[in-house]
Symmetry: C2
Subunit: 158 residues, 2 copies
Amino acid sequence: MSKQSEEEDRDLHERRKRVIGRLFLRASRAFEARAVERIHALGYEDYRPSDNLVLIHLDTRGNRVSELADRAGVTKQAISKIVHDLENRNLVAKEPDPDDGRAQIVKLTDRGLEMMMDAFEEVFALDDEFASILPDGDLEKIRQGLLTLLEKLDPGGF
Amino acid sequence: MSKQSEEEDRDLHERRKRVIGRLFLRASRAFEARAVERIHALGYEDYRPSDNLVLIHLDTRGNRVSELADRAGVTKQAISKIVHDLENRNLVAKEPDPDDGRAQIVKLTDRGLEMMMDAFEEVFALDDEFASILPDGDLEKIRQGLLTLLEKLDPGGF
DNA sequence: GCAAATTAGTCAACCAAGTTGACCGAACAC
DNA sequence: GTGTTCGGTCAACTTGGTTGACTAATTTGC
């Protein structure tokens, strides 16, 4: 292998490492791993990242499965599974929808509400932690940039 | 449901949407979806995102499975499966390592090299496309911020 | 007012991208 | 040489989804 190939490899690897999509992926994983860790450490050992897909969209009044699916941008089946799981862990409960005999309203239980509040406190704290790594105001600029980007690329996204 | 709860819900949803981890996740998915689309459109219908885990780390001289696993930050088994898949699609080939009878060297085939070059051209073009959405220089600042962040949070990461 | 089409939700089977664990054969330590 | 470590694979499992088929309830059209 020639010295030149090695250099070319290094250059190409270096360019690839800077591709914005890859940086987004690494950053999102770094965030998620820490979030899960913190929430587990709080005593919610059964917390799972996919719980978020439901928890993040729940309103105080409760929501239908299909409503949650729309908001999350996944299928009803995916939400249905997660809800089932959350039910087994006593974090949400389903009650019949008075307005529609087919539908059911998914609502947080007391335990669910407690976990959700504690979990989001951790997540917001983690956001601050990320902000503190960068010079003052820089994360806020990144956040704003991402919001602009996503408005174009993924409008109405989850 | 009281007017007040609805407002509180809206505020909370709004705060959650701005959590940096979630923005990273959405942005990384938006990027990946477009990258895959573009590469497929190029005629490489069999391209899969996980291919990247191997392709991105391959040197001209070829690499061992375990070397790729180290670089990618996943298990040897995961790389082994992807390599097997790439082999079936005639994108890489394995040859025995002359220096170690246990090992094998994974190398791009001609078709693999061609695909990789074309694919990365698309990815770099996509990076430019993302940059063009934001005011001049802003994506570059985001990139730099992410590199700083990841150096702290995920040093030596993939 | 009632048949036809749509909607809410679930069940089951599958898929993608990993993981852990058991194992084989080659290489290394001494 | 024998014991341990290393390179790689195979198999089974896990997570977070998907598509497809179905039931029961509701809405639409006439």
